[in-house]
Amino acid sequence: MLTSALSLSLQVATLSTLFNLLLAGGLGYLLATRRFAGKALVESVLTLPMVLPPTVVGYYLLVLLGRQSTFGQWLEHVLGVRLVFSLEGAILATTVVTFPLVLKPARAAFETIDRTLIEASLTLGLSKGATFWRVHLPLAWPGILAGLMLAFARAMGEFGATLMLAGSIEGKTQTLSIAIYEAVQAGDQKAANQLALLTSLVCVVLLYLAKRVSQPRWQAPHV
């Protein structure tokens, strides 16, 4: 139980973090650089998973993507993807819950880039695309990375939304935090202790790493 739960948790956390690099990173860039109608509303909706109880997020996902819903049926029949009681469902739920944790710092990181640096890059002959890769991204990277680390740690502990959508199937969707709950419910103190310690250890290591990478050597040390 211990190894399968740890491996599932790592899979879910790794994949959801990767998805959020693209999804939340990309949207963070757009929110920081574009102006459009209804931007404030879009932002509020995108931040929602951070303030809503995870069970509510999970419930929404269940209603929207479950086997009873039109979209869920389309997913299952056309694409052959079943999100309820599956690893894919756990990854999706975790991605949604951790999304704002990457979006916020990514957006802030892109927003704080000095506008004249972009102008300098353009006048030096780099196209807008090249400027994104060589100025925007490296400068925003420490902020994005800190967000990703936080999201990964949070993903390791994701419980509510995952349980609602993916359930608790040992060896399939039963991640560390869900396995702890099951162990306590079953009165298995030893397993609960082991699982809790393991989870804490992984999270401490991650937070320590996050702190180390968030200050690159090109930055002036904070006084």
């Binding site: 102008e119 890059s121 006048t123 030096l124 002959g125 090249a130 060589r134 050597r217 090109w218």
Partner: protein
């Protein structure tokens, strides 16, 4: 040399309108734009660089037309081949002095996303190697000229104001620009350093025959650089 007619209406944050209406015709190599702050000097320079689009007019440097409303010509800033030196230098904080200077170099290692992985993915073809050698020579030449060889591997936050300025100038001159645009280039330096840098820059511009447009408040700058002075008042050239 310079044939610039630009017009644009801008609404500022207080809601009041500001109209920029500038006409500059000049045959000199080095031109200065003077005027009070808020007269539209920087805006004019940004329009020449393509960072801001005028509503009407045309911008021509020597034989090259950069913008013409009537002919629907509007080269994007990265195709204008101009060197721009910003008031606060705008050095890339994540790159060393040398990397800043050769930012525009089209080598694979500098074009790829700079997350430090590129050298594992690209092996250099002979042509690329040749180009890299050329870039290295040019870098050495520019760094020597502006006396920044000894700080080549330092990051901008580790450089003094004068060194930052030298890096910014070397970077702007890397590609042999059609013209150099200077926005109050010496205003953040102390007097002794200013004089020294003026001389170094002037030598450079004369040696390489690069025309320049300079914005300045400083009469010393004007005296040393400008062969012609254009004054802006409330957005209009007089």
């Amino acid at each position: 040399m310079f044939d610039i007619t630009v017009k644009k209406r801008l609404a500022n944050q207080h809601g009041s309108d500001f109209t920029l209406d500038v006409a500059i015709q000049s045959d000199v190599q080095r031109l200065a734009i003077v005027g009070n702050s808020g007269a539209g000097k920087s805006l004019t320079l940004k329009m020449i660089a393509g960072l801001l689009t005028p509503e009407h007019g045309r911008i021509q440097l020597a034989e090259q037309c950069l913008f013409d409303r009537q002919l629907a010509i509007n080269l994007p800033p990265h195709q204008r081949q101009l060197g721009y030196v910003f008031q606060q230098y705008a050095l890339f904080p994540h790159l060393t002095a040398a990397q800043n200077v050769m930012f525009a170099a089209p080598t694979p290692s500098s074009r790829a996303p700079t997350l430090g992985l590129s050298r594992y993915f690209f092996s250099k073809a002979p042509v690329e190697q040749q180009r890299t050698d050329l870039a290295r020579r040019r870098l050495a030449e520019l760094m020597a000229r502006f006396e920044i060889t000894n700080v080549a591997h330092a990051y901008p936050h580790q450089l003094s104001g004068g060194q930052q300025q030298r890096v910014a100038l070397a970077r702007a001159l890397w590609r042999q620009p059609r013209a150099l645009l200077l926005d109050e280039p010496f205003s953040a330096l102390d007097a002794a350093l200013r004089q020294q840098l003026r001389r170094d820059l002037l030598d450079c511009l004369t040696d390489w025959q690069i025309p320049c447009i300079l914005i300045s408040h400083d009469p010393e700058d004007i005296k040393m650089f400008a062969q012609q002075v254009v004054e802006l008042k409330h957005g209009c050239s007089v």
